[in-house]
Symmetry: C2
Subunit: 382 residues, 2 copies
């Protein structure tokens, strides 16, 4: 058997847990906290709970919210500059994947120096990072529990995938109360991002029994809770379950890595600065069709987790139901269906094929794949 | 909803992983390693791999193997003395629960001072511990991933249950190749210890969705692999799966705590120095009968995980099958059946009732329980 590795942060999950940020930082020995967030989160009511908890713990802090969707290298540089000027010694990220990924990238440069480009790939970080507490507010990215940070190289217009155990935060805080402010569309696309994480890590060639239990639980939770969560802002139970699904999918992909959906979505998102969840949502069923050949038994299990009727069907037929299920779910919750709606066209296929095939996430895709395959899948999704 | 917390070490699982001890210690900044083990493990072939890995990492080391089953406070004191004399700065435990629990206890006293009695209960450790790498060799205790250490107070003849996040090792190494040297009886009783961990944490009042996925996976793995593992020394696959079950049950109970089986077994084991796995194996079905009233739906799920036929039965009837299943499994694999075989008698019931009811594990038992209930259960198991 191969040697399996699994790593995760200390996890604090539940409504009200956001108020524990300050004491968590104090427990990790922080003396001044650098808080990375985005302007939308900063304006929310519950962001005050983060700030108040730092005050309660008698911890001074500096806030940095100069980030955008698909966060850029120069935003990271700006963050590092303020972190150093303010003489902070611990890092808090509050938000979706963008804020948390920038917080991690600031942590890297704060103690390791250089440019963020130097850390692209696996295990390039040399020196220990400052204590990191990450607060997830979107139930999507899973970045609060993962060893990933994704930063856009603004000059090369591509996403840098940085993978290192040092990027697993010390403490992850997931507070579902933050989810009730999300729009139905954002709930839908981040929810499909969760499903993409869970499915890609489940069929990954690096999957292990430890990642499988997390991935399977996440797939089942999405099947049972994503529709109700999109349907009603007030359905707290569905939102709590989606938050748990996001954590579990994050634990799965952090340790089993991902596949062709993410490799393509990094290529597309980096070049055209499109929302990550939307692109994943569109690509997922096409990549599933492509990958089905590699692992029909896993697709059969996915169909079962979706609650599809499998007992009267052949394994291949039942596995196919998993793909149909994802297509119908995506339509039901009003997710975007075509890349052409986002301004993409056939002329973009060659560059996407070329960039995606080099992405670190492509290595664990279960089916062998070429740039030509990527181009074909891209065109199908237009 | 309540706030759920979950914490685990970095985990390295697989045949050959034991050879990574040295590099793990080096990565954690160790300069001299204190290795705690027992004489049986020290004499094994694969213990050399631990020592060689330290040599390869150019790490000096000291070995301490002066421990016994149900390890005692004075053994911990002896270990601390050598740790300090040898000027070590990192701790490795290699063995079953005894060696790992002593390694953790040495870690506590090395940097916090005092006697081990002062740390009984929850969260009594004040100062950070030295880096800890724990290597599990029995597929039973789960101590390599847990926040528990159980040490016997030799004067009071009782077990001290010490629970703290500081006791979660930095790195846990689980190498199933170490399991092929276990006797069928030890395989049976440690395997039933795993099942006890999984069932007690699953029905615990502190169970969460994150502990449930681990507990359920462990229950299913035990049902499928414990019999084959006892049956053949050479069935590597069954032993690997039992090692995984042990890890997952360890993650479940570390975060959801345990119940009346462990509270009673700590009381019995501390007073009469009997093997922990044997006592748990005998008590489990009696405590399940008692607890069934509190959570029939969870027992129904356990029956399903055992592969029992549940669809044609009422929930109460199906749940009862879970208890029958455990009784039959225990007989099938030749586990001890009666406490009287171990020299216990009715006269011991009052003291066991009195001590067990005070154990930290009793707090999370799903059914309210009194000392009189404990006495009755003890007598039933005689």
């Amino acid at each position: 058997m191969k040697i399996n590795k699994f790593v995760m942060p200390e996890l604090i999950f539940g409504s009200g847990s956001i108020g524990q940020v300050g004491e968590c930082c104090a427990r990790l020995g922080a003396r001044k906290v650098f808080i990375v967030t985005d302007p939308g989160v900063q304006a929310s009511d519950w962001f005050e709970q983060v700030v108040d908890s730092c005050k309660d713990a008698r911890l001074p802090y500096a806030i940095f919210s100069g980030i955008t969707t698909n966060p850029k290298d120069y935003e990271v540089d700006k963050g590092v500059q303020i972190y150093l000027e303010e003489e902070c010694d611990a890092i808090v990220g509050v938000g979706g994947g963008s804020a948390i990924d920038v917080a991690k990238a600031v942590a890297i440069l704060a103690t390791n120096g250089g440019t963020i480009q130097e850390y692209e790939g696996v295990d390039k970080i040399k020196f220990p990072l400052p204590p990191q507490v990450m607060v997830a507010t979107t139930a999507g990215s899973g970045s609060e529990v993962s060893q990933f940070s994704i930063i856009t190289d603004s000059k090369k217009k591509k996403k840098l995938t940085i993978i290192s155990k040092s990027l697993v935060p010390d403490i992850a805080i997931v507070d579902p109360q933050t989810l009730i402010t999300k729009s139905p569309l954002l709930t839908a696309t981040t929810g499909l991002d969760v499903l993409t994480h869970a499915i890609e890590s489940f069929v990954s060639i690096a999957a292990t029994p430890l990642t499988d239990v997390q991935a399977k639980s996440a797939i089942m939770l999405v099947a049972q809770n994503l529709r109700p969560s999109v349907a009603s802002k007030m359905n707290k139970e569905a939102k709590e379950k989606m938050a748990m699904a996001s954590v579990q999918a994050g634990l799965a992909f952090s340790n089993a890595i991902l596949g062709a959906v993410h490799a393509m979505s990094h290529a597309i998102g980096g070049r055209f600065l499109l929302p990550h969840g939307d692109v994943n949502a569109i690509l997922l069923p096409y990549v599933m069709e492509f990958n089905y050949l590699a692992c029909p038994e896993k697709f059969f299990q996915i169909a079962e987790l979706f609650g599809e009727e499998t007992s009267s069907r052949s394994m291949m037929d039942a596995g196919q139901r998993a793909i149909e299920y994802v297509k119908k779910l995506s339509v039901d919750i009003g997710a975007p269906q075509r890349l052409s709606e986002m301004g993409l066209s056939e002329s973009h296929a060659p560059i996407i094929g070329q960039v995606a095939i080099e992405d670190a996430c492509m290595i664990t895709n279960p089916r062998d794949i070429t740039a030509t395959d990527v181009e074909r899948l891209f065109k199908l999704a237009l």
